[in-house]
């Protein structure tokens, strides 16, 4: 249970870190969309391990095969299944984890829930699971762009206490990809990279904050009550490994303002569109998009798997010490950027189709 996401644009991921492979099935994709596997691969390349000196050294090309749902370069409207084989697997590196729990990792809780787990490389709890999300997100992004012009840009906002200055109104993919830490503040980025390297050399890890903006969002997406747009965005990004917090618009800082300071006053722009002067709402009011940029932030904790020795227990509850082997990122933030973008795209695409389904049917004159 729990391996599917979305209501009309519905993705189901599968796969463990070690084993046949990981992948995704998308059900509900609109037909006749032009799909080139290279577009999907480009997103996977942003996520893949071994992409830079500050990511895990595991060597995977993460080559994506489209198994179904695309014919002569176009989506069929039928399920799109995509598969990425696991190649550079080293189960022997993880043999200690078969019996010893890594602190703050999912080893112990999987055992508690299921009574067993695939301990090789973290099994299902590995961040390799997000390959399916990123592949599906690439298609969602394309739909959003093509149908309504929505563009989604994520970036590293903060590494530990190093915070970049970024303008969400204008930041673009090229700026984000211009450095390996994916922070488009060119002064801050080198310091972040240096900090990550330093921490890795200590056998330790760090966390930070990813910010993501969706621009050109039409008014009216999202549902009131439980499936508020911000609620589904929160669920989407809080389902990513290592996430600990979520903010939309003003977030926690907004609680320090009074209503008269916080409210986004309305005006009518030159095109006659109703707009807000400020955007503390983060583009969503009452769970529905208001046409302003959607801005959210996600807190990622420091990677749980570290080389430093820690106190822990075995499956049998015997106390022991663990200095984790295996390959892992000292900081998940750079690779988390495409993951956050993917989840935002999946939520937006699902709500676009849902809106079309409920509100696109009756003719204006009805």
């Amino acid at each position: 249970m729990g391996n599917s996401f979305g209501h009309l644009f519905r993705v189901t991921t599968f796969g463990e870190s070690h084993g046949g492979g990981v992948g995704v099935v998308i059900d509900g994709c609109p037909p006749k969309l032009n799909i080139d596997v290279s577009e999907i691969q480009a997103e996977l390349d942003r996520r893949r391990p071994g992409q830079s000196k500050i990511s895990t050294p595991r060597k995977e090309t993460d080559t994506c095969e489209i198994l179904s749902g695309v014919f002569e370069g176009k989506t069929l409207g039928t399920p799109i299944a995509m598969l990425v084989r696991n190649k550079d697997t080293r189960p022997q590196d993880y043999s200690e984890m078969a019996t010893t729990y890594r602190p703050s990792h999912a080893d112990a809780t999987y055992d508690a829930k299921y009574g067993l787990r695939n301990w090789q490389g973290g099994g299902r709890s590995s961040a390799r699971e997000t390959i399916g999300r990123v592949a599906a997100g690439a298609i969602a992004k394309k739909i959003l762009k093509q149908v309504v012009g929505i563009e989604i840009v994520g970036y590293v906002k903060r590494i530990k206490d190093l915070e970049g200055i970024v303008d969400p109104e204008t930041v673009n993919l090229e700026q984000v990809e211009s450095n390996i830490v994916r922070c488009p503040d060119h002064e801050c980025a080198p310091k972040m990279i240096e900090l990550i390297e330093q921490i890795r050399n200590q056998g330790d890890s760090i966390g930070g904050v990813v910010e993501c903006v969706a621009r050109n969002v039409p008014k009216g997406l999202g549902s009131p009550v439980f499936d508020k747009l911000e609620a589904d965005l929160a669920k989407g990004v809080m389902s990513l490994p290592a996430s600990k917090g979520f903010e939309i618009g003003s977030g926690f800082a907004g609680t320090l303002l009074s209503g008269s300071e916080h409210n986004d006053e309305y005006y009518t722009d030159e095109q006659g569109t109703i707009r807000t002067v400020s955007n503390r709402s983060g583009g969503i009011q009452g769970g529905i998009s208001n046409g302003e940029n959607i801005i959210l932030r996600v807190a990622f904790k420091p990677t749980a798997t570290i080389r430093k020795e820690q106190r822990t227990v075995t499956r049998e509850g015997e106390e022991t010490m663990l200095a984790a082997k295996g390959r892992h990122d000292p900081c998940v933030l750079p690779r988390a950027v495409p993951m956050v973008e993917a989840m935002v795209a999946l939520v937006m695409c699902d709500h676009l189709l849902r809106h079309q389904g409920q509100c696109g049917t009756l003719k204006p004159e009805d």
Copy 2:
């Protein structure tokens, strides 16, 4: 769409602020549970307007009628429908809102999405919608308590910059209910109340943070991947009106620590149970409960509807000024406490039944 929540313990709310009433249908409640309507009413009383000098003066007893699903004091396993009639309705107070949008409220986005709205008292976007959640949450709480002993306690942690000191390990309902702001820090609570009154007198509003703890949670609840326990909790509370942020365990502050500082080391306690020394994970690892207390925080913005005059537009886009009439809370926090508890209870109860469904079937010897 979007008015249902949960997978096995599934609630659907209905109703607008003004009109026949608001309510909920629960589908999937276990049978043979003892239900007394007074238990549900007690929770609704914590949520209802007019409960104290710092809440909206709208006078509603919010009397709950159980329409179905309970027979001779026991749940039947069939849908439990509950209805609360709207009584103290004053549509005339809201006539200005029929044409003028309140800043940072859902007036404009509902119009954008649906092309019309019930403008009386906020219609479906009114916090009256949460009556159904709180009524359902009362039943979820009872199941959690009875089946596995889980108890859920929420409280006001912060009002603007006034932060209370509360021990989540021990705080109880009586302490929370001992003052009208629902902050169990007896020194801080009077200051919070004073601040709220002062802000209200200025025709303004304020926000803050609710913290909530779930204790006695068994290991193994939650699903990996999309339906991680923290993801569903995030969605649940971020679907409450006025919420802007969510944290589990260490939250955003956790991003300032290194992995070796942040990780929760394991030990085995005297009963032979595997435990964690610290609880920065907030009781959840890899989306699955680890048996420690689940601790989360929700940021609520200042109430959007204020008496102070603000710049806004009409439905036709004409710019105007609005000083909102109608009755509203200067600070939603005290009444948000039972709402947060309800959403946490709904998530936990759903995952309890889901876990039982997937993992409770095969016999140990299989």
Copy 3:
């Protein structure tokens, strides 16, 4: 579980035969649809007990109250909750059923599943549950008619071995409602009525077949694979009380033909539309509507509750005899007609919105 139906146009029913009432919540209804409660009441009147000399004498007006989701005569896009109170309840008539199981009724299986049941009037297994379906179906019918011109007509095709001759191409509501048995064959109908009266006088019951046609169905509704249009129609009508069989198009008789006899050959009509010469497919090919009339049949068994004495057991397993008291129909067919129409409408409306959601988004030039 299991009290909701549909994916985008989603209905949830609640209520027992005796108790506060029965009703429905519709989530996902398109906004701005004109709704008059009298239209819904008209459908409920076709379903209500006591409507004729061949139906149960229970006296219920089944008056429908719209609790939410409609404002100034238009749907809001928010949940539409409708409630019908139970009035003419006589629990004492059913006291024997508290302990004694009616053969072929749900008394024993509810006890087996839930460990208890509301034995008054059949509780949740009463056909009163279908009030919610019929009320929701009335709205679904209106959407189908208004958006794409679909009309749905059901009628009694056969009572026991008395089969009417009806032309599904032309039959209309007036013809169906012209007699109390709802068979538009004016020669056969009086014989059917006579047979039902005769059977009732014997303390016995009979069954038969309802046929239903959906006309003006656009091409392209339905999903391949699991949610084929005929699969959802089958589920919809097989979820009605007392149904034992389902056929689409040629049905079981079609298995006696060869492929060359059974296949519906194509031609192009004068408007340039691709049509089929015959319609053994019943308007659906590969799970998707082909633009021809959708024709289906449902077998309803004889009513289980009869006055004739039968061999049975008590809750404790003691063997006994039962001659059922209480009020019941000697033949469910006449009242099943609006129920079948409602389920067909709910399926069609849901698939209309789903089609719009998935396939209505990309612009033709994409």
Copy 4:
């Protein structure tokens, strides 16, 4: 949309007849179940083409690869993905179908819905899609057998007008598999085979009826109202290609009986279990299993694709004649048997987990 089935034991199939392959993802499988790929392959071998002289000559071994969810021979509780590659593909055989619609096939409706289709071998509407169902069904069968001892046996009951005599109480897999037409009546089977060969030689096709029994079903499975066990069974089998009708228990023939003839009277057997004397209910009353054998029948039409020349149209609506090439079965019935069994197993397994989820939680003393 529409490519998933089940609520707790949820399968999603993907794939077209020609292209990378077909497969399935199962989400919600209980953990720690022993799985041997040979058990799944055995079911696929019953479904695969080319298995006998009366099936399509397409040569596929349909070799199943388990991609995820199984570790060291046991299910992990995580998604089980299974893939079967397409091997013996001959797109050129279908080139005529790129432009010409086969009567009573899904060619035209896919085009109407999606605006395009994979015309090679029927694309998604090919019966190859059922590979995923049969693979998932093999696992569902194993769970049902192991947890509660349920066994599911399907067989050909009728080919055109040749009806076999089979005792559902005792029929077993060996008897079914003892001949290539899968009719355990040894006198009738050779006649059926002869008829199929004769029809194929004429370039034509025939249909018939599959019957299926589920034995050792515990009381209490199924949900009242929409998800009645017979409703979900009806949906499951009516979603199979070429199905036109469904019956549970007495089916359409039951409508010819009076209530006193049709009702299943109760008695208490020697073990003190409440049983029914007859089983016209087909093992289900009020949507819930009563502990008797579940018996259902499915009507399958004659295969639509035939060599005989038929009148049809092209995509552009031009009238033409078609004598279909490509490889196809003259009668789907023998290969439909494992498909029906699979759908019955998927429904039963899902309801088993759902029942455990809702009703398995509260302790008896509660």
